[in-house]
Symmetry: C2
Subunit: 306 residues, 2 copies
């Protein structure tokens, strides 16, 4: 089999080397324009030209869990698109979300600021039963985040497009139960795929339905949040703050109102990084199973968008 690697903004050599070690029976090359037709591709944000030149691809293995950018390209019609379903990302998401949740719940930002200003002050402890965490998106990542949040004894709710179950958590399904989910949620965690249905799902109307003192943690895609709708809800105090790892435009432009906002913690799309070792091992397993005609996890429904 001939496999091409094509990843924007990533040094190709160590990936190609690792893939060659994991799949020694295959011929693996870093893509250059005009390369001969390949059977499979391992990609991250490839240019349209890549797919235009590769009409025979059977499998397109994406180096991340989110395929929204990939599906905006014209792909070879017969190609099966496969995404990473964990690759060490789930535990990273769990720790990133728990860090943001604990930091907010325990007011650690404020305590550290006090210390820096020479103060030594106590705040009234808050009750974790008042901090219901509502998780949107209950795939591999959402389920893992729910487990971690439950480990710290916070009440957890889940919401997803199709009915899902989470042990120990109440789950809501579809558009008709969305408002009830929001009304019961204080800390909203977004782990949805970005699709036409979920674009802008966090907006003035939906965020206003969160409990007073609500908090937003977005670790999915910038497109899920209507950015200009967040600021008035922070200003009028309905929302207490937000931790945002993803943005409509990345890098977040200089002068963007989220930069240096006292109630917004910004991180540079780092909540769950693709780890080479785990990812290469997973792609090698999936590609081998796919070639044998065996079922594999993470096959993208292009119609549905994830």
């Amino acid at each position: 089999m001939h496999i091409l690697f094509c990843a924007d903004g990533t040094k190709a050599a160590p990936w190609v080397e690792a893939l060659r070690v994991a799949l020694p029976q295959h011929d693996i090359e870093d893509w250059q324009p005009g390369a001969p037709a390949a059977d499979h591709a391992v990609v991250w944000s490839p240019p349209q030209q890549f797919f235009d030149e590769q009409p025979r691809l059977k499998g397109v293995f994406n180096l991340g869990a989110g395929v929204d950018a990939l599906l905006k390209l014209r792909l070879p019609p017969p190609a099966t698109v496969v995404r990473i379903d964990d690759g060490g990302m789930a535990v990273q998401m769990a720790e990133f979300v728990c860090h943001a949740l604990i930091r907010h719940f325990r007011e650690l930002d404020a305590y550290e600021d006090d210390i820096q200003q020479g103060k030594w002050s106590y705040r009234k402890p808050r009750s974790r039963t008042d901090f219901t965490v509502g998780i949107m998106g209950l795939g591999v990542l959402g389920q893992r985040v729910a487990q971690a949040v439950q480990h710290f004894e916070f009440p957890v709710l889940g919401w997803s497009r199709t009915a899902k179950e989470l042990p120990g958590a109440r789950c809501f399904t579809g558009a008709e139960q969305f408002d009830d989910f929001l009304a019961a949620t204080r800390v909203l965690v977004c782990l949805l795929p970005l699709t036409p249905e979920t674009e802008g799902i966090m907006n003035a109307r939906t965020l206003a339905r969160l409990q007073p003192g609500g908090y937003v943690i977005n670790v999915a895609r910038g497109g899920h949040l209507v950015e200009e709708d967040l600021l008035p809800l922070l200003a009028n105090g309905h929302l207490a703050g937000a931790t945002l790892d993803v943005f409509r435009t990345e890098p977040l432009p200089a002068g963007h109102p989220f930069r240096n906002h006292p109630k917004i913690t910004v991180t540079p799309h780092t909540s769950a990084r693709t780890l080479r070792e785990e990812t290469v091992a997973q792609i090698a397993r999936k590609l081998t199973a796919f070639e044998r005609g065996e079922p594999i996890a993470g096959v993208v429904d292009r119609e549905r968008g994830y």
Copy 2:
């Protein structure tokens, strides 16, 4: 039964009220000098005068897990000293330690600083297998912290005075295994009771044995750390940083070198706060069982010091 409440720096009225609700058959009063002799006391940092005036006390119920300050007083010889063994504190410890661990491991301080300076940068992801967490003290709090750290898939080691077991973790016991424990540890978490044996246990010699890039999280007592020994190890880079919640002198004095140190995160002894509701319920259960002559958890061995 006559029960006195005596807590320094705490508003007595809501505690006395909550204790009366939980123990309606008993007579419960806030202590005033000269009060009649009582059967039991619920205390936090009481003055020596309190015990001098109350020689008949059978039970002394401490509002926290640490009894080091209490045992420095002259107590009525027959009194049984009982400490809180959880009271909602274990989950708070778990979240405080995990927050500090994740913040260090994921370099979130540095990412947030970059953003504030207008940067948008990536750091090479670190491998969690390189961040072995060594927990000193394996009581209720240490065990709970170990579980939480394991939930995020960090390797965990434990050390305690007497042999203990932690599921999924290698445990070390006593002075003879202490150096091996330190040598295998990168992130050191102190949850020990403060006793003459553990006073100054974190010092130049022991901290130098941690793995390069070591990190210290002290959530026990300030007396466990020889404060002046920490700074040279941070300066020479052997230690990467520390999160300290407790200090030799609290509040931490103005001008103390830990304040505003770029590698030290200081919080004002807030890692696990005594929560009134849980604590009162636990004291009521223990006091009732104690009166019936039933065994109870948290009885302090005054000789041992915890």
